[in-house]
Symmetry: C3
Subunit: 529 residues, 3 copies
């Protein structure tokens, strides 16, 4: 498998340049082959899409071999540690989702997260990484299946492909886990297996390629010979507000709509409300672990620790956006929520998560002040988003759609407003903050081109993901039980709920001496058999 290395350039430029023409039209796809079909179709109707890289990299220093080797080591240590932190987010997700779920669907949540993590590893190794990060055309990568034929280093970085893989795997797994959030409580486990194959193996990597692939049409947008050359701006998504979170959030939304609400779920406008989660301490701790893991997610996305100002700035911006989001969502719920006058835990946790999601795209290019403000706005976005879904009678038990979908879109757009114009491209041996690479938003005196590019990118991806996932979910809904997306009614309503139905156990199995816990009477010794 031959790889056209000339298509690669420095990582950040991958996420910033636009080199291909593209015209968006309504397309209908179906089933698991949706992504592939899309590509084949696109290749047939859009000849000559694939251009060559014309990006002139900033003159790098001339290090010796041993110095290059050391810098690559520094970058690789950074990337791998970041990958591990991103992986730690799985512990956070599972706690957050399980804690905000009802007790009867808790084991199901746990198993989905674990299974998706396993499945994602194998699919991302076999096909996902190839679709997303190898070269091919504007719509899909076509090399490196099963990590065969890869170069030593991921092009434009100092990081081995095999280390870049695990970093990106952890991202893919995050996206995959988000999806299960809005679908908690009524998805059959076999249905989960089917849609997870679609999301993890095809939808995420192929649509992700558009923005992060070396020749993705959104990445190369605005450059000579590519889509929308006159815009002069590519789509930028530093660490994935759109690529990871909006994809996850929009897929969640499609799933939640296709599934319908859980049996017995009554919405606010009908006199009900979200059923309470069963374990708030678990959810809150999960939120903190997610925040912790985000320090891998965002700062690690430089793939370089030689850019010390960059990684410090990203880490600090990430922090402040989370702080702003948590605080604003808390006040929104305090002032306008159903529990007006109370300091609401659920909104506060979802608020700082929304701040984190929002800063994920612009974290490299904005100032700490900008990060605080745009994170704070994300806190309001998540508050409004939860209300909107409730009004639309869409059942999203953990708020995956507002937190990841809506805040992801907001964060992606916010770059067009808050980019300070001081920062350009990160790279393996340092940052390149020279003039042609700088990114400047409206609030800092820039023109609207960055905002336009961001809007094109995030809405293109959001709509594509929603449509494709909706079709896929619908198809799985047509399957007979037990493969049908929605579990049988007795799986939801039976004693022990989904946990007992699909997994044969309660989350907190009855212990032999549980009755003594009720405080009603004392029991003598009795032992479990």
């Amino acid at each position: 498998m031959k790889v056209n290395l000339t298509k690669f350039k420095s990582l950040s430029s991958v996420r910033q340049l636009t080199r291909e023409k593209w015209a968006f039209g309504a397309t209908i796809f179906g089933g698991k082959m949706i992504g592939l079909g899309l590509v084949v179709l696109a290749m047939m109707i859009l000849p000559g899409l694939i251009g060559t890289s014309a990006h002139a990299a900033a003159t790098p220093p001339k290090p010796t071999d041993i110095e290059t080797s050391m810098m690559n080591s520094i970058d690789t240590v950074w990337t791998l540690v970041a990958a591990f932190l991103v992986f730690a987010m799985q512990a956070g997700f599972v706690m957050l989702e399980a804690g905000f779920a009802r007790k009867r669907e808790t084991v199901n949540v746990l198993m989905e997260c674990i299974f998706d993590t396993c499945l994602c590893g194998i699919l991302f190794y076999a096909i996902g990484y190839a679709f997303m990060f190898s070269s091919g055309n504007g719509f899909i990568g076509l090399h490196w299946f099963f990590l065969q034929g890869t170069p030593d280093l991921y092009p434009g970085t100092g990081v081995p492909v095999i280390a870049h893989w695990i970093f990106q795997y952890a991202f893919a797994d995050t996206c995959s886990t988000v999806v299960s959030g809005a679908m908690i409580g009524r998805t059959g486990f076999r249905g989960d297996i089917l849609y997870s194959i679609g999301i993890t193996g095809f939808i995420y990597p192929i649509i992700g390629h558009w923005a992060w692939g070396p020749d993705g049409f959104l990445a190369t947008m605005g450059t000579a010979g590519h889509f929308f050359t006159s815009l002069g701006q590519g789509f930028r998504d530093f660490a994935g507000s759109t690529v990871v979170h909006t994809i996850g959030g929009m897929a969640s939304l499609a799933g939640a709509i296709v599934l319908g609400p859980r049996i017995g779920r009554i919405f606010a406008r009908d006199g009900g409300g979200m059923p309470p989660g069963h374990n708030l301490p678990m959810a809150a701790v999960g939120g903190f672990i997610l925040w912790f893991g985000w320090y891998g997610f965002n700062p690690g996305s430089t793939l370089s620790a030689m850019d010390i100002q960059g990684i410090g700035r990203v880490a600090t911006n990430t922090t402040l956006a989370a702080c702003g989001g948590g605080m604003m969502a808390m006040f929104a719920a305090l002032w306008w929520g159903e529990t007006k006058g109370k300091f609401d835990l659920g909104f506060t946790v979802n608020g700082f998560l929304a701040g984190l999601v929002a800063i994920t795209c612009p974290c490299y290019w904005v100032s700490p002040l900008g990060a605080t403000i745009l994170g704070g706005v994300a806190g309001f976005v998540v508050f409004g988003g939860v209300k909107l879904l409730e009004y639309l009678r869409i059942d999203d038990p953990i708020g995956a759609v507002p937190v990841h979908g809506f805040a992801g879109i907001w964060g992606t757009l916010s770059l067009g407003l808050f980019a300070t114009g001081e920062y350009g491209i990160t790279g393996p041996y340092g940052a390149d903050n020279t003039a042609p690479n700088l990114v400047k938003g409206l609030f800092y005196g820039g023109d609207a081109s960055v905002l336009k590019a961001q809007a094109i990118g995030t809405f293109t991806i959001a709509i594509a993901v929603f449509v494709v996932t909706w079709v896929m979910m619908k198809l799985i809904m047509f399957l007979p039980h037990p493969w049908k997306l929605r579990v049988e009614e007795k799986g939801e309503t039976g004693t022990g709920g989904l946990d007992m139905f699909d997994h044969g156990t309660d989350a907190y199995p009855i212990q032999d001496d549980d009755v003594s816990l009720s405080g009603l009477f004392e029991k003598g010794p009795k032992v479990t058999a």
Copy 2:
């Protein structure tokens, strides 16, 4: 904003030298402006306090530009990863505090930790970092508000200011979270907001400046032209036994005293005892996560990974002190505790935490044997401290005062006993263990000067924090409900306790099918509305 860079020297010297004269006198401060008032007062009555740095740094190697750049990257990776680990301690704190809390105050604990983390980020960005780490005078830093006007690297280190910020933010957040511990269960949430602003925005950073600021009067103590020149020793607190933990612990103590005990709390001498926590597994896991995060706290405080012996030594000493503390506290409770003959979980966890707190100051300068012993003593300190508070009828639900306050003081003093005399100053390009920098304690043949300097530093800070915080807490106690520090009586005694009163929910909301858990009868399907 112009920064006087000549005031800076290598980070460790910041924590070791004494350059200013100072005379301690009783001063009364009040309210939220206490810190600032203190400074203004001090500046008026103590003219000529601010001297110039006369510290001659050890001759550094002469690296090339690219080598310097690489070393800075190594140091920055180290510092940032450490910062992330310190942040992870928030997950640990929230588990520890919630687990040792009663069920009825659990959500309150969660929300306080989350809110304080958000608030601390914004305040530490706006003013805290400036007060603490910029130059100014012996009492307060006066530059860098909102991180404006900062140099590229934090002076004397290879770490960007923007990366140093997040490391120090995580420290400030730790201090802030400690404070809530002793005040669990009867503090109104609005009162928490108020006092947190005081602690996070003013008390911690301003008093912290005394020890860690580039020109803090305790840092420069003992040097020519500064406070107590004849002592010849500055106050040393490598990673914050005093600066972080004693400040947190003493502020906790002031809060607990001002608040009084929880309603219905009966003390040991009155025939009662500490009400049991509600979730020991959560508390124990939280303890382990704290221990994990401490590996960022202490080793990261070198701000340098070029000093490989230093970071290894600090990591190992940290481990052994924790081991000693856990073991000794377990045996203390086994031999002398209320549950004599039992292996007590709470004391054991608090014991290893006390060991960690104690080693935080001396970790760079002591031997593994010294670390084991001083950590073990900390285990006894925490056991005695808990007994003392119980005797004094002070209600500290998680032992924040003994663990952070008392063990912090002990650890700070222990440097004067256990410093081996082999180690001096860490620095961005390696350690400087030459003669004038060495630190030697009494047990290793040193004179009492180090112990004196440590005593001056830790007691000055402990007393100042206690007094200032006591005044602040008293003032908040005078406010009307709901801003009053102590929550209304019904907030404590009502159904659902503080959680329901201030947050509108239980920690473990009743699930529709909870009764089946009692094992008393089976229920048919019924679904939450």
Copy 3:
């Protein structure tokens, strides 16, 4: 204490070469001095065992002093961060074990993990590290007690001894914690203290020395002048499938057999089954945290980040093996388990853990495809192992024996099948993948020598550990209460179980208003005294 440095060579060769002759015979040892007795005996009956190192290291590059210093820093940062991640596994273990335990033995599980962690630190500092990693003879290390007399860097690495210590401490602690798993629920706490001293202070480090000591007889096997020269292969265990996990698993097995099952435990063939754990969310989160920590365990075992391809490959292989193991165990239980047709959480978690255990030995030398497959096989191994123990009426509440013991053996053997022949030795300044160092397994055209060496190594260690631990456990069983290994009957059967008996508390102490939780009636305000 003089150290014979010529006995050292590069770390990996330590784990790969064989240089001593050795004949295995039946030996009976006893009590806590077993390990030492073994050595003394062996030294008496096997004169001339100790040879000299003849290993020629690959020509290293010639870096300048400052470059060497930087590379050492990079390696040390990597090793320390990895050590911290491995330590984080303690949080995972305690959650996994407590979650899968019955409620009545939960505090006991927590306390054992905490106590063992503390004890292990002190013993590994005093004697363990010396026994294991210093030179001596083929059976035991004889220097560096209390870390005295050590060189600056651990020989053959760029990592200070004091940093290597904490990395290896975290490994020792892992092994120690595994042992408690199979013995949950009926071990007296004083008995736990006694056997933990034996495991942590003697059995693990001394037997570990055989494989990882600089002159261990399994490490030097196959080289001139040492045991089994004609084999031409040493025993390789990159990160400890055998050294850490099989030792832990086999010691567990011996303990479980000596103890017998918990009172009232009825096995499957007798119409019963494993009593359910009490908190599956906690167990599942613990599993994820263990997976996270494994990224320190395996990639960190290079002790070098200059080998960037190596650390990336190890991280990716570790991931894929876990994915394979989790998925296969899930399907095994789905198709053939007692809960046939259900997606079983316990097996899935134990499955990915088994995959992680299995890849721990071969992670450096296999391909991603090989890792996926051998991890998948481990998923079946753990399924079959659980069935086997149940059939044999051995009570292993968390599956420690199948997960760590059996999967560890499988993983160790699998190197002889899956090693690709492309990779050789890692080292502080990069990998050495030249011809004489390459490792090739049967499936890749190698001969059976690697498989033989692996079989000799893993079975020698498994048998030795089992025999020695069995004798030790038996001796502790002869002690009178309360020092007897097995707790008094009332400790198991009394109200509150082992937790109340040995620790004086429930894991979830009854809260004053717990009865309101039952949903049966509402209560007015009442406060805990």
